[in-house]
Amino acid sequence: MRNALLIAVREFLDNTQTRGFWFGILLVPLLWLMASQVPLILARKGTPTRHLALIDATAGEHLFDVVLHHLKTAESRRELFHFREWVAPRLKSGQALPAADKQPQAWSKLQEDLGPLMKVDAGRFAPPAPLNRLVALPPELEWRGHLSEFEGRLRDWMREERLFKPVGVDEEVPLFAVAILQDGPSSNAPPILRFWSANQADTQLQDRIVDALSRNFRSREYTRLGMDPSTIAQVEGSQAQLMSFNPRKAEGEEQVGMADLLRQWAPSAFVYLLWIAVFSISQMLLNSLIEERSNRILEVLLSSVTPLELMTGKLVGVAAVGAVMTLGWIGSLVLMTFWTLHTAGAAALAADSIANRLPLELATLLLDSWLLPAFVLYFLLGYLFYAAVILALGSTCNNLKEAQNFTGVIALLMMVPLVSIAFIPKDPNGPVATVLSWIPPYTPFVMMNRVAANPPLREVIGTLVLLLLSDVAVLWGCARIFRTAVLRTGQPASLVQLARWVLGRD
């Protein structure tokens, strides 16, 4: 036992004392952080200001003002969004941000109004750089009333990717786009937008202009047909209200909220974590065994320890590595959650948006459910199954190349639970989920995924017992293979030979 422990400790230290291991642990919260923060950062700073020239070539439609107003409104909304984000953590304790007004106001006025509610050292809000800025055309592109002639000059100018200094701008900038507004083919047809831009990927600007023109045209048509545009806008804005109920919940609490959705989908995230953990630490185990085998260290080890002690030590050591890895992931997610809570502040939570309530719901779910205990249990049982098989097969191979023939098959088998992650929550107690649950190598992943759907108790216990028995059988068989194969040299064993070793015929 002492020797098994010594081997486990060395195995643990060998795997955890590498930069790659800690980088792998940091990667998950880093990805989480990036997924939650990068869109915000990009929204604020990522997109440079787009400079747009607008030409209204319509016959007295005054669409220029329509588009200008629409773009200004969109810009004000964006500024307000950033202002709310800036205000939330700077409010005095116990103060909540008033509900958002549908009609955007200037943030400077808002800051004055909110002054008494805010902390003394709140400072002053700096608005983000505008997303779009309307500018006058450079002199050489002056609009002379002839479309084809203008577009010929424009094309040449834009092809040269020239910079110019628009009025009111301190630096030379590229012209992102030129929008030419034209009448439709008939008096009752909507106008045409001729949008010239070398950037075809960023469509937000052309979408906004099309939206402005469409709204204006529809409003004009409603009026022409004797309908009130404001009434129609009001009617179009209405939407049926969804109230979802789950009969399995306690009486009076049947209504489904975000917590329920989280509870339903969080196990899938844990299955994914479980899969990565089992897969990656099985690889660690294989690499370590192959290193010892190809360096002939195994022979020295086996003069000091029994094959069973060696196998136990390796299994325990690498399991500890996996435990640290998954604890690192879960811990960092919990820390990130609380960090988000802390930075958002209680005031932001009061706003009751999904994004704001998510961390709290997630924390509650992690600390107050069967999710974590189930994860630990299925991690251990799943790991033991795969690790024993990997150790037995690895012990018959002289190098990683030989081992890859085996690991390729195992990786293919492990793809089944990975593929099932997405569809099992949709029918967690259906026939496919039930059948997969009773196949021991898949039990940990599938049952973990079904945790939220309260599968029948007999299935939970039955599959667990079957998995336990399979683990014992696999460990026993693999220990027999390991004991025989570990000192053997030459070709990797055939399946028949493996079977003979398990049965003790060689």
């Binding site: 060395r10 002939r296 022979e299 020295v300 086996l302 003069s303 000091s304």
Partner: protein
Amino acid sequence: MLAALELRHVSKSFGRFHAVQDLSLSVPAGSVYGFLGPNGAGKTTSLRMILGMLSPDSGELSVLGSPSAMSVRNRVGYLPEEKGLYRKMTATSVIAYFATLKGLSSARANQRARELLGRYGLGAFADKKVETLSKGMGQKVQVLASIAHDPELVLFDEPFSGLDPVNQEVLEEILIDLKARGCTILFSTHVMSHAERLCDRLIILGGGRGLFEGTVSEARSLLPIRITLETAEASPTLEILPGVHSMEAQSSNLWRLELEPGASASAVLEACFERSLRLRCFDVQDPDLHEVFVHLVGPSAREAALR
């Protein structure tokens, strides 16, 4: 003298291949015992059986008085033929690790590791990772790892292979030190000069069988003594010299004599004087272990190599 290790009629087969057949040997406690044989003679299989990694099909073993090496494993040290270490560990930690597996406490193992590295010229590399050491240094570290727990019996499988002459001398020094403190050493080798210099007793294996077991001088006595003899006068009568088995004339006054087993070179010299032969040269060539080895295993080894 008590035997530290005994094998009695031990056999081991793998399928239809008989790796070791009816092998018997006895290694006296405190001695250096040579385990000689060509490739495929059954040396490594025998060592693995002694260590308890393989079970013999038949026969008996006694390792430090125990029928299984596993029960006395902390008193045995082992260096395998193909050497390897954990490349990412330091020299000290790798020696200490193997010593802890042999029962030493972590503190004592570290202390022993540093002590040994210092004593055998690797003190400056104690905290270097194994992957930064030269091949020879790595092998020395592995030798030290096999003796750090002060074993009573050490089994070295080809300890000299891959070492340069300087490091071979260091290894000899280690073996001599071990012997001096009463440790029993069994080592296999292809290099006969090492066996001649170091072994008290040896066994020569061939085709899985023990072909000879005894001391180095007993081994040498298996082959006749040769004498190169040169006289001042041409064609003297030499047939009458005692104990001469055969003679071959190299020229009219130069002969190569081969003595009968057990015959003495001094008796021949005495007879030469008695017969008033005017000797210019009387050169006695004792057979060396290399010749004995080739004589014993040559035919079977050549057959095996050609197969």
